[in-house]
Amino acid sequence: MSNFPLGNIGGTPTVQSDFARPNSLTGGHRGCQGCGEALGARCAIDAAHQTTGGKILVVNATGCLEVFSCCFPENSWSVPWLHSLFGNAPAVATGVAAALRSRGQDSIRVIAQGGDGATYDIGMGCLSGMFDRNDDVLYICYDNQAYMNTGVQRSGATPPLARTATTLPNKSYLGSDPQTGKNLPEIAMAHGIPYVATASIGNIRDLEQKVSRAINIRGSRYIQIHVPCPLGWGYPTAETIRIARLAVQCGLYPLFEGEYGKLVGSTPVEEPIPVESYLRPQRRFAHLFGKNVSANAVGVLQNIANGNMEKYRLNWEILDA
C-alpha cells in the first residue's frame, strides 16, 4: 500500500496537516503513549469540524476516550461535548438532535462516539434504536477491540483467538472463541441507514474523507475506526500506525462504504500481505506462534482475511485472476 504523507508531498493535504487544524481534542490528555484512539478521535472530530465550520456537538460514551479526556476539572475538548453513561450515548445524542431540531438549529451536527464495548455490547440496544428511527446522528465507534479502560476485557469486537484479560489462552484454549463475536458495520448496514463506513488511523486521508462525507448526510450514519491500542494489544508504542496499516493490508480490517444497506465501495489493498505479518508483532496473538500450536490457528484468521478480500472486493487483481 502506498500511502502518501499527510501534507502536500504526493497527495492532497489532509486536515491533520493544516497548521490551523481545530485540535478538537487538545494536548495534555491522559491517553497512553501511542494511543490510537486519541489520534482517531482528533482526526475524526477535526474533519467534522472543518467540514461544518465548527458547527458540531459531541456526545461521548464512557470508555478510555472519555476518561482520559476529562479528568475533572480539566477537559481536553475544544468542541461542545457531553458525557452521560456507558451504554446510552446513542440515546442521548438522539435527544440532543431532537432538541436542536425543535429549536430550528439542526445545522448543528450531532456526533455520538464511544469505544467498541460501548457500541457493540452495552450500547447496542440504544444504537439499534437510533438506527431504527433514522435519527440525525453520526455515530463513531473507536474500535480497539476490547474494553481497554477497565483492563482489556473481551468485547463483541475482539477478534477470534486474541488474548484478553477474560480470554487468557492456556493449553487447550487459544483465546477468544472463533465462533463468537459480531460484525457491527454489517449490522448497521442491515438497518438500511443512509451511510456506513469503516476507516483506520493507518489511512488518515481516507478516514477524513469518510467523516467529511458522513457529517452532512441527514439521518443515522455509522463510522467505525480501527484504533490500535499499544497497551492492550502488546506492541511498542511507536508502532500504532504501522499496526493499523498492516491490519488493512492483510485484509483483516477491510475499509468500505455502504449506503442504504448496500456496499458501494472499498479502499483497495494493492499488495496484500499474509495475516501473520499483522499478528506476529502483537502480544495478544503471541500464543498462536508458540511451539505446540497447529498452523491451523493462524489459518482461521487467514480465512477471514481471504473472505474479506472477496466480500469487499479489496483486490481486483486477485479477483480477476
Binding site: L25, G28, G34, C71, S78
Partner: protein, 538 residues
C-alpha cells in the same frame, strides 16, 4: 467561586497538564547525511539542491551546486556519479537520475547567463595555480571567492586539462568548458595559457602559496615489443591532435585496435569510430567485468558496435601485424597468466591507452615533497605537500582520478590555503551519521520509474546526451527520498496522538516537549528518517 469538594485545580483545559513528564525517550529532528552527499567526491549537497529543483527553483539549486562545484554543466556530462550508486531510491525502484538533473540545471544556468556575485573583499595575498585542468581551475575559483589574487599557469593553448585534451567532444563540447571557465575568469582569475612551468622552484618564491594540479600527462609504458611501430599512437596524442590539429588525423585507419581497459581506452575507441574506422576492437587482459571503465561507457561503446577482445595482451607490434597472447585470469586470486596460445591480426592503427603517470621532474630540487613509490605526491588532510605553502591535488595525489575528485581536492585545498594565509581556520565539521535505507519509511512513497530519456545513436563528434525539460527536472527530482532531512510532509504533525508537534504557518515543525509523551510514532512514520528518538537524561 468555591471549589467543589476535594478539588484543588481550577476548571480548565488539559493544556496545562504537562504530560511531557512521562517521557523516557525524546524525538529530535536531525539532518543526517544522505548517502548521495556522503559519497560525492566534491562534497555536493545533492539532497538540498534536488529539493530546490523539485520546487522548480533552478536558480537556487544552481547556487547550491556552485557552493561546492564550479562546473555543474561539465559534471552533468562527465561525473561518474557515485551518488547514484549509493542513492537509497536504488533499493526501491531505481536511483534518482542525479547526474542528468545536474546537467540540465547546469545548462539552464549557461543558457540564462547566470553570473556569480562579484568578489568585493581582497586578502592582498597572491596564489599561483600550476595547471589549468579541473583541479587547478576549481582551486582558483574557491580561492578567488575568498578574496585571494590568483594566477593560473597552463601549458596548453586552452584551459581545461583532461576535460579538453582527454574527454572527447561528443561527451563534452568545448563550448561548455569555455562557458564554465569564463565564469571563473570573470571572478578576476588570471589564466595564463601556453605557459609551461618547468620546475616548481622557478615560481615558488614569487607567491604566498602554490597549488599544483598538473595531472598525469606521461603515457605509461607497456611490455609490448614494438618492432615496426608507425601504426602506433598513444591515446593522449590522439586526443591532443584532435583538439589542436584535427587535419593530421584525416587518414586515420579503418581497422583499429585499442589497448587498455579504462575510460581512456573506451574514449579512444569511440573516437576512432568517429574518425571513420570500420572496425574497432579493444584489447583487454582481464575479463569484461574487471574493466576499470565506467559501466555506462562500456555499454555505450558496445552499442556503437565496438568489440571488446578480453583475456588478451599485445605481445608484439610489427608493421601492420599484431601478435596477441591469450590469457588466463584467476578471478579469485587476481592472477593473470599466459595460456600459450597466440593470435595474429592485421591492423591499420593501434591506440595505446594503458594509463598515464606524472612527470616528477617538475618537483626536482624541492626535497621536502614526498613522492610515493607508485609516483603520487603525498599530501596532508589540508592537501599540503611536505613543502610549506605548497599544496597539491587532482591526478597527482593518491586516490581515484576523476574530474569530480579533482574538484573535491581543490575545495579542501582552498580551505587549507586560506587558513595557511591567515584566514579564519575552519571549525572541523562533525560529519552527521549517514541516513541509510533502513532509517526510511518507504510505505509513503509510490513506485515511480526513473525518468530516462533516449540516447540516440550518433557517430559524429556532436554531443550525444540530451537534456531534461524543466518539467522532467522537477519530476525526477521529486523522486528524491530526502534521506535524513525533513521535507515537510507533516506526517509527524498529523500522526502525533498528543498534538505535541507544532506547525507554524511557514510550515516549520518543532516538538512541544511539554506534551510529548515520547511514544515514537513521529519517528516511525517519518518517511525520510529525519526524526531520531534519543534517551532522556535523568
Amino acid at each position: 467561586m468555591p471549589k467543589p469538594f476535594a478539588t484543588v485545580l481550577e476548571t480548565a483545559t488539559s493544556l496545562g497538564n504537562n504530560t511531557g513528564s512521562w517521557r523516557t525517550m525524546r524525538p529530535e529532528y536531525v539532518n543526517e547525511l544522505p548517502p548521495c552527499n556522503a559519497t560525492c567526491p566534491a562534497g555536493e549537497n545533492v539532497q538540498l539542491w534536488l529539493s530546490l529543483a523539485m520546487a522548480g527553483k533552478f536558480r537556487e539549486a544552481w547556487e547550491i551546486i556552485m557552493r561546492d562545484n564550479p562546473f555543474p554543466a561539465i559534471m552533468g556530462r562527465v561525473c561518474y556519479h557515485s551518488c547514484e550508486k549509493t542513492c537509497n531510491r536504488g533499493l526501491f525502484d531505481g536511483a534518482v537520475n542525479i547526474n542528468m538533473i545536474e546537467k540540465s540545471i547546469g545548462d539552464i544556468a549557461l543558457d540564462s547567463g547566470w553570473i556569480l556575485p562579484r568578489v568585493t573583499s581582497s586578502s592582498g595575498k597572491k596564489v599561483c595555480v600550476v595547471g589549468g585542468g579541473p583541479g587547478g581551475l576549481a582551486a582558483a575559483y574557491f580561492l578567488a571567492k575568498l578574496g585571494h589574487h590568483i594566477t593560473v599557469y597552463e601549458a596548453h593553448a586552452n584551459p581545461g586539462g583532461m576535460m579538453r585534451y582527454g574527454v572527447p567532444r561528443y561527451r563534452l563540447p568545448s563550448k561548455i568548458i569555455d562557458a564554465e571557465v569564463k565564469r571563473i575568469k570573470d571572478l578576476g582569475v588570471k589564466i595564463v595559457c601556453n605557459k609551461k612551468i618547468s620546475h616548481l622552484k622557478d615560481i615558488i618564491n614569487d607567491f604566498d602559496a602554490v597549488y599544483i594540479s598538473i595531472g598525469a600527462q606521461v603515457a605509461s609504458k607497456s611490455d609490448t615489443v614494438i618492432k615496426k611501430g608507425s601504426c602506433v599512437i598513444d591515446a593522449m596524442d590522439l586526443f591532443q591532435k584532435l583538439e589542436d590539429n584535427p587535419a593530421d588525423l584525416a587518414h586515420f585507419g579503418k581497422k583499429v585496435f585499442v589497448y587498455g581497459g579504462g575510460n581512456t581506452a573506451i574514449d579512444a575507441a569511440r573516437t576512432a569510430l568517429r574518425l571513420g574506422a570500420e572496425s574497432v576492437k579493444i584489447i583487454y587482459r582481464r575479463t569484461i567485468n574487471n574493466m576499470p571503465a565506467h559501466e555506462t561507457e562500456i555499454s555505450d561503446a558496445l552499442m556503437e558496435g565496438i568489440e571488446i577482445l578480453c583475456l588478451r595482451t599485445i605481445n608484439t607490434v610489427d608493421g601492420d601485424q599484431i601478435l596477441l597472447d591469450k590469457m588466463n585470469y584467476d578471478e579469485e586470486f587476481g592472477i593473470l597468466s599466459k595460456t600459450g596460445e597466440t593470435e595474429v591480426w592485421q591492423v591499420d592503427n593501434i591506440i595505446f591507452a594503458v594509463g598515464q603517470t606524472l612527470d616528477t621532474t617538475f618537483f626536482d630540487g624541492i626535497s621536502d615533497i614526498l613522492i610515493s613509490e607508485n609516483g603520487a605526491i603525498e599530501v596532508d588532510r589540508n592537501m599540503m605537500t611536505g613543502a610549506t605553502g605548497v599544496f597539491a591535488g587532482g591526478d597527482i595525489v593518491p586516490g581515484k582520478r576523476s574530474v569530480t575528485n579533482a574538484v573535491g581536492h581543490a575545495k579542501k585545498a582552498a580551505k587549507g590555503i586560506d587558513e595557511y594565509l591567515g584566514g579564519a581556520s575552519e571549525v572541523p565539521i562533525v560529519k552527521n551519521a549517514v541516513a541509510h535505507f533502513k532509517k526510511l519509511n518507504t510505505i509513503y512513497f509510490k513506485k515511480d520509474k526513473r525518468t530516462n530519456i533516449l540516447r540516440p545513436l550518433n557517430l559524429s563528434f556532436e554531443e550525444i546526451l540530451p537534456s531534461y525539460t524543466n518539467d522532467e527536472i522537477s519530476r525526477e527530482a521529486s523522486r528524491c527520498f530526502s534521506c535524513g532531512n525533513c521535507f515537510h510532509c507533516d506526517n509527524c504533525y498529523g500522526h502525533c496522538p498528543d498534538n505535541a508537534i507544532r506547525k507554524q504557518q511557514n510550515g516549520s515543525l518543532t516538538v512541544n516537549y511539554d506534551h510529548c509523551k515520547g511514544c515514537g510514532i513521529c519517528a516511525a512514520e517519518c518517511p525520510c528518517g529525519a526524526i531520531r528518538m534519543v534517551s532522556e537524561e535523568k
